[in-house]
């Protein structure tokens, strides 16, 4: 079967700087894959290339949504990529702070709704039904994530861990088949990290989702991931199961430095 995300020979140049150099990464359906690497290795750039924030200089980004043919994502606009079923969160929280928790999730629902301004004027009842459905869908998502008690709170007033979960809830509202999480555990305490671990596994098992995450918390990465991709200086240096990656000499070198150079 085709991988649901297939990135081939991805290269991203910023002027003379090669932030990504010939990276190949494939994510299989139902997998939790992790992308790790030292700071500045190009992990977030990779996410930005996939989601349409950057247009890759070279290479192919292809997706195969479940039950649909393979499509190319290169050069598509961000909102189109979201409509195709890729959702992401950010390493620094980017909620719509001036809105309530429910509104934040409903905004995510936006791209799945049909009626526009014209139909709202001509057929207010259809618009109303759709809006009602958006509210109930959003509420259900919040229940799943365990945020339903905060429904009418302003997003900015939520505790940190809850804000992180709300980002995931908003991403889920766009009905994705692949969830891209950029450092979801950053700044979380051990209890919150444990809950996040459970949430991510629950999402994969119950929501028919595949997940690609960037993370620095190695304990979390090792316990969660089916497959780990390691990048360093924009190049992919290793791939494999947690056990394989842990014992890979290139990976150890990238993280701990190379002894032979100093000797």
């Amino acid at each position: 079967m085709e991988p649901i995300l297939n990135v081939k020979n991805l290269t991203m140049n910023f002027g003379g700087l090669k932030a990504l150099d010939n990276v190949n990464i494939a994510v299989e359906k139902g997998q939790i894959a992790a992308l790790i690497g030292p700071n500045g290795a190009g992990k977030t750039t990779f996410f930005n290339c996939i989601t349409g924030i950057y247009e890759p200089s070279e290479g192919h980004v292809e997706i195969t949504p479940p039950g649909k043919p393979t499509q190319r994502l290169n050069g598509l606009k961000t909102n189109i990529v979201a409509e195709k079923g890729l959702a992401r969160t950010f390493q620094n929280i980017r909620l719509f702070e001036g809105m309530t928790v429910l509104e934040n999730v409903m905004i995510g629902r936006h791209c799945r709704l049909k009626s526009g301004i014209i139909s709202a004027m001509l057929r207010p009842s259809a618009q109303k039904d759709e809006e009602q459905k958006a509210v109930s869908d959003s509420y259900r998502i919040l229940e799943k994530i365990g945020l339903d008690k905060y429904v009418n709170e302003m997003a900015v007033n939520l505790p940190y861990g809850a804000q992180r979960r709300l980002e995931i809830a908003r991403a889920l509202a766009t009905d994705p088949f692949l969830l891209l999480l950029d450092e979801p555990a950053a700044g979380m305490n051990p209890q919150e990290t444990k809950e996040l671990d459970e949430l991510i596994i629950w999402l994969r098992d119950n929501e028919d989702l595949s997940i690609l995450l960037i993370e620095h918390d190695m304990k979390l990465v090792m316990s969660l991931s089916d497959n780990i991709h390691v990048v360093d200086y924009g190049r992919k240096i290793a791939e494999g199961t947690p056990r394989e990656v842990k014992s890979n000499s290139d990976v150890i070198k990238a993280y701990l430095g190379d002894d032979s150079e100093d000797a």
Partner: protein, 327 residues
């Protein structure tokens, strides 16, 4: 600095207040008339200022061509009402059609201006877009001047003297009443649009974080277009109403009205919709009181003095928040 501000504020208010109360008590009816005049004027400013503040809220651009959109609204209404008047149509139909055409034309212009002059500069430095806006403003002024006439055109009021309004006509004319009432209705509709509809939510999301909005599937370009269209529609309504009030228009009316509305938006806190309305009413009323009690020739000077004072002491405006930089 803060203490100085407070002392200055108290002193100015005290002096003005002392003389103010004396004057008001001497002739309360005059004061009341000025107040209502100011309210009318402020309502018009508010209708225009909304466009400035909404556009600024979303793409952080001062759309200097916005005053011209308002002028085009007034011009369209004049053309439509003149033609239909010649054909001898019913005046109620004329009013409605004049408004419909004015709104439609202004929206079309607002939409096109954004597509031609601002969209290609979306990622350019902000100064480029600003210069483009000023260019667009000059272009539209001159285009209307050449297409119509440089002179003033008489504008016959579309709004009749309502009979039911007769008892109050001494205090406030039907036209003024209509202006205030229309503004209130437009504000309420706009509030509903922003607060409760899907496009309103998309607008707020885009204003807060464009990239994030597009990542959750919002078509940012469409949201920006809609903002321009909505802003143009309110400006067109303002244009037709003021033309009814003043009774004459020319290609140049958009320039000063646009600047005044801009001052009002800054006064209220640019980017804030309630701020734009509040700023407009404050500016309208204070202008009216100033011209009534001091020197009417210095009306415009007064408005710009207010602008300078705000920029010095409270650059974020009455309701504006202090700018927090985006990461």
């Amino acid at each position: 600095m803060r203490l100085f501000n407070i002392i200055l504020g108290v002193a100015v208010t005290g002096i003005l207040g002392f003389f103010g109360i004396k004057e008001v008590l001497a002739d309360p009816a005059y004061f009341f008339a000025l107040l209502l005049g100011g309210l009318t004027r402020g309502s018009i400013y508010a209708l225009i200022a909304l466009g400035y503040t909404m556009v600024y809220g979303i793409i952080e651009l001062i759309n200097f061509a916005h005053g011209e959109i308002y002028m085009i609204g007034a011009m369209t209404a004049l053309i439509v009402s003149t033609v239909l008047g010649l054909w001898g149509w019913n005046s109620a139909v004329i009013v409605i059609l004049a408004f419909v055409f004015a709104i439609f034309y202004s929206c079309a212009y607002g939409f096109t201006v954004e597509k031609i002059a601002y969209k290609p500069l979306r990622t350019a430095p902000r100064l480029s877009a600003l210069i483009s806006a000023i260019g667009m403003s000059l272009f539209l002024q001159n285009y209307v001047m050449l297409a119509q006439t440089p002179g003033f055109l008489p504008f016959e009021s579309l709004i009749p003297d309502f009979e039911f309004w007769e008892p109050f006509a001494d205090i406030i004319t039907s036209v003024e009443m209509t202006i205030i009432a229309t503004t209130v209705i437009v504000m309420i509709l706009l509030g509903i649009l922003i607060k409760f509809t899907r496009i309103g939510k998309a607008m707020r999301a885009t204003a807060q974080d464009q990239i994030m909005a597009s990542l959750v599937g919002i078509n940012v370009n469409r949201v920006i277009s809609t903002t321009f269209v909505v802003g143009s529609a309110t400006a067109a309504i303002g244009g037709v109403l003021i033309a009814c009030h003043v009774g004459q228009i020319n290609f140049y009316i958009g320039f000063l009205a646009g600047l005044k509305a801009f001052i009002a938006a800054v006064l209220g806190g640019i980017g804030s919709i309630p701020g734009a309305v509040l700023g407009s009413l404050v500016l309208g009323i204070s202008e009216s009181l100033f011209t009534g009690y001091f020197w009417s020739e210095y009306e415009d000077v007064f408005a710009f003095v207010i602008l300078v004072i705000i920029l010095i002491f409270r650059p974020s405006g009455i309701l504006g928040r202090n700018e927090t930089s985006k990461v």
